[in-house]
Symmetry: C2
Subunit: 324 residues, 2 copies
């Protein structure tokens, strides 16, 4: 058994941190150790909540208030970030824990910034494994947050039990700014900043989104009234309790109707297929393959080889190299 296993199961935050660092590493020995560690962990379940919100909707404040409400009820909460842009922007969205000052000092909370990785696929693998580590460490809720760059929302939805979209109050025209595909993934739309002068606009925005949600195709795993739009204020805390009640109600309903287990089973299968494809394609990155592909790519660019014939030749070579 790995040295980290026991403290991790006991909920030791440093052990969890170190385990996630192993999971994020690209070193082969780290990956091997991470895999053995993951294989030896008990199968605990947290409620996995995917949370998307663009900058400006008050996502940090929401996570801070919502997370504190849950820890205040005795629950343990982990926050993970999926931000494929973090390499480009030079820093993770969660890099600075001062973003959530109170929650980061809360002994019942665990916050982990997004790893800097050039590839969304790499972030996906790491996050899926980090979620499992957080579950094994005894967290009741794992919040997986994303800024919604490119495909990151789809990815987060694919590893969550519930998907929550956080929005700011807006004029009716801006409703179309939310991509239809994102709307269709959302189980709950929360319109934040529903306080002070923005209370009325927030309520109108909720009504607009509620109307838009009714127009979307009904999903079979949804009970009456879902997907739903609600107003919340991360600043005053208004509506956060209701939002949590709705999340729990939906999760319970899905559990009772067998959808919860079915969704997780499908997600596990998708993860397996993604790993399989990534693992196969990784063969193109081995140094010997890389050199051959680069040389062939130059031939193709200079018109000395046809693209399809060049690809066939590299595939043949890979077969022979594999057979050696």
């Amino acid at each position: 058994m790995d040295d980290l296993t026991e403290p991790l199961i006991q909920g030791d935050r440093r052990a969890l941190s170190r385990a996630i660092t192993l999971v994020e590493s690209t070193r082969a020995d780290h990956r091997d150790r991470a895999q053995r560690l993951l294989d030896g962990l008990p199968d605990r379940q947290a409620l996995r909540i995917g949370l998307s919100g663009t900058p400006g909707v008050g996502k940090s404040t929401f996570i801070e208030s919502f997370g504190r409400m849950l820890t205040g009820q005795g629950m343990r909460v982990a926050v993970l970030a999926v931000d494929p842009s973090s390499t480009r922007s030079g820093g993770s969205i969660l890099g600075d824990k001062t973003r959530m000052e109170l929650l980061s000092r809360d002994p019942r909370a665990f916050i982990r910034p997004s790893p800097s990785s050039a590839q969304l696929g790499g972030v996906a693998r790491r996050t899926r494994e980090a979620v499992r580590l957080c579950e094994a460490a005894g967290h009741d809720v794992v919040l997986i947050e994303t800024v919604g760059v490119g495909q990151s929302e789809t990815l987060v939805a694919q590893m969550s039990d519930l998907f929550v979209l956080l929005l700011a109050p807006a004029g009716g025209d801006e409703l179309q700014g939310v991509k239809r595909g994102i709307m269709e993934m959302a189980d709950l739309i929360l319109v934040n900043k529903a306080d002070g002068e923005l209370l009325s606009p927030a309520r109108r925005t909720v009504a607009d989104y509620a109307g838009a949600l009714r127009l979307l195709r009904r999903r079979i795993q949804d009970p009456d009234g879902f997907p739903k739009a609600l107003a919340v204020s991360a600043t005053t805390g208004d509506g956060l309790g209701d939002a949590w009640d709705q999340m729990r109600a939906l999760a319970d309903w899905r559990r009772d109707h067998g959808h919860f287990a079915r969704i997780r089973a499908e997600q596990a299968r998708d993860w397996f297929m993604a790993e399989l494809r990534a693992g196969l394609l990784a063969r193109l990155d081995a140094p010997a393959a890389r050199a051959r592909i680069d040389a062939m790519g130059r031939d193709v660019a200079q018109g000395r080889r046809a693209p399809v014939a060049a690809a066939a030749s590299v595939l043949d070579w890979l077969d022979r190299a594999g057979a050696d």
Copy 2:
């Protein structure tokens, strides 16, 4: 030499049709023959024009008028369609040649509907090869049209020398409806239906898009004034001559400055890489692999195997199977 080679080079339409049918086939012997045929063809170049326009902008009428103008000048024109949705909608966008009645009977024109294929990757490969066949058959211009579903516009841009976006006159608010990524790919935006009552709205729309294009990052391969927005009317023919002049001017400028060859070289390299990845992933579809993956997928779904470990086990098996 293949029986089709000589008639194809002579510009025989039936030979070209049959060659494209080979290219579209999934049968191994057809694919082999198609590959040999492609390898034995002379390296002729047409101007490849990618054309995107959603239903309702008058794309068929535009292709008919624009194509007839070119054939009227003695040029030979091929029209290919990329429509990944054609399987879903039950028929190709070009399936019915009555869409372009005059052009389809024009001896200097060749029109080929989109193949029905479930996968965009398959459509991409076939279209790239069909473009080469049309070039070898002596066409001067190959129009590659798409309805702009999903990633099809990116795909078409990746196999074209020029990318043209066809739009209808619209209110200023609708400008945002065109995705920024598509705007960034366009070398020329043509606002169609600039005739009769729509002439003024069309001109305003042109001005709106011209303004929006100026805000986009300047591409190094663009001469002054490009990307450009123009008004055209496929019905009256107004502006079509100017549009063609602009396309030629841009292509000539790129040729003179070495960008044309560079872009084609990059596209050939991208195609090679896409073929390589697709060829590698196709190993997962072999019957023996399929059976193993399905069984493993069930184990993963039922929680008997961890996704990552299951993927590693299949990859090991593939290695051993390859070595046999």
